[in-house]
């Protein structure tokens, strides 16, 4: 297997997508044959409210260079209010991560509806480019021999 070095490094991004909006939006992007970077690893969750802020820390520990949390637009939640809680949680978590020394931009959250395939593609493109510019993440990452 080829060694990953500065030459061939590609950002690895963990994306939590809510089943009812963003995951459907990603599906629609696929149906429409939209091209978006394969740097993203999607984890389907029942609601963005399912995403425990600890998952973000875990993502960085396990070697992801960026983490993205996506859900329905506020007001559109399948469970009425899940994403309002998500919004509060991650407004706070984002600031805590920055305070803890994770660079701004490594953690992001976006609202993408089931119809917004283009927004999904654009978001993935933009986030990937931003994280590519930041380079590989070494902070809060487990040493390789722990993996």
């Amino acid at each position: 297997m080829a060694r990953i070095d500065a030459e061939n490094w590609e950002p690895k991004i963990l994306a939590f997508c809510c089943n009812w909006c963003t995951y459907t939006g990603a599906d629609l992007a696929g149906l429409n044959r939209m091209k978006y970077p394969d740097n993203i690893r999607i984890v389907r969750v029942p609601c963005s409210g399912r995403v425990n802020p600890q998952f973000i820390l875990r993502g960085f520990q396990k070697g992801y260079d960026g983490v993205l949390v996506c859900g329905c637009h506020p007001g559109d939640c399948h469970y009425t209010s899940g994403n309002y809680f998500t919004r509060r949680r991650f407004l706070l978590m984002k600031r805590l991560l920055e305070y803890a020394g994770i660079e701004t931009g490594r953690f992001q959250a976006r609202w993408i509806s089931g119809a917004e395939a283009a927004k999904f593609r654009d978001t993935v493109l933009k986030v990937t480019e931003e994280i590519r510019a930041l380079g590989p993440n070494h902070r809060m990452k487990e040493a390789d021999d722990h993996e």
Partner: protein, 283 residues
């Protein structure tokens, strides 16, 4: 302060003798003049061993949980910090107000190694916010102590320096969980650190896992921290935990406009509710 101690002993003696309370939680003496430990007075004659002086550093509120399933009323000495902690525990559903008898004591700050204790320096509630009776006269509150000064200082450092700072601090952590055990907001029946099968948290005692534990604990109590500073005081390794907690308190106050935690036993807290008009950063 010795008259407060005498009044406290007298009151506790009669409360226990009348059968109004089954036990009183206060402070007791140790071998050292400048140290006290929590003391449980079960009989009227125990009241004479209670101590109240400028070395009563421990926050007693968490000990009230020993009586959470008791049918009897427990008495407890409450200063500003304990009273807010008691409110926190009631709001979190762990204690019942009617099963507690709160003896309020206004406090002018405690001493630690000869100077004002770190935990008392930024205190905004020296008088108990809830009590059944008050011993002594209310004292003047500190006018806007600069409680977020240290947070602002660290915020202005570069991202790399902040990372190095916290990793350096958490390298000292021995995962004794004293911070959690002393914290009145850390009152879950089962702490996440004891859940061994979730699969998404590590158990290794290395710097990284220690820091993940530290950040997670801070986040868990972020919207409920009463800023009593007990976690930092009990930390045997001297990790500046309040620098982390106050960051969250500051953000919760500025983002959601919440009032300080523990001022009432109202169960609402910032992350347990929402406002449709919250700040929108994720569009």
């Amino acid at each position: 302060m010795s008259d407060v101690q005498n009044t406290l002993r007298d009151r506790v003696r009669s409360l226990l003798a009348e059968g109004k309370i089954s036990c009183f939680i206060g402070w007791g003496p140790t071998r050292f003049k400048d140290r006290t430990i929590p003391k449980f007075a079960n009989k009227p004659e125990d009241a004479g061993e209670l101590v109240y002086n400028e070395h009563c550093l421990s926050n007693l509120a968490k000990y009230a949980l020993d009586f959470q399933f008791s049918a009897e009323v427990a008495g407890i000495a409450v200063r500003g910090c304990e009273s807010r902690a008691i409110n926190r525990l009631i709001a979190d559903g762990r204690l019942t107000r009617s099963k507690l008898y709160l003896v309020g004591i206004p406090c002018e700050g405690m001493l630690e190694n000869g100077s004002t204790a770190e935990k008392c320096a930024f205190c905004r509630h020296r008088n108990p916010v809830v009590y059944d009776e008050l011993i002594g006269e209310p004292v003047a509150e500190q006018e806007n102590p600069p409680r977020f000064e240290q947070v602002l200082e660290l915020e202005s450092a570069s991202s790399e320096d902040r990372y190095d700072f916290w990793q350096r601090e958490f390298a000292k952590c021995i995962r004794c969980y004293a911070c959690r055990n002393a914290c009145p907001a850390c009152n879950c029946m089962e702490c996440y650190t004891e859940q061994y099968r979730t699969g998404w948290q590590g158990k290794q005692a290395n710097t990284l896992e220690n820091s993940v534990f530290g950040f997670t604990r801070a986040y868990h109590i972020g919207d409920r921290c009463i800023e009593c500073g007990e976690c930092e005081r009990v930390c045997p390794m001297g990790i500046p935990l309040m620098k982390l907690n106050r960051k969250l308190v500051k953000d919760v106050e500025s983002l959601f406009g919440s009032e300080e935690s523990g001022l009432s036993d109202d169960a609402s807290h910032a992350l347990g509710c929402y406002d449709k008009e919250d700040l929108e950063e994720f569009m």
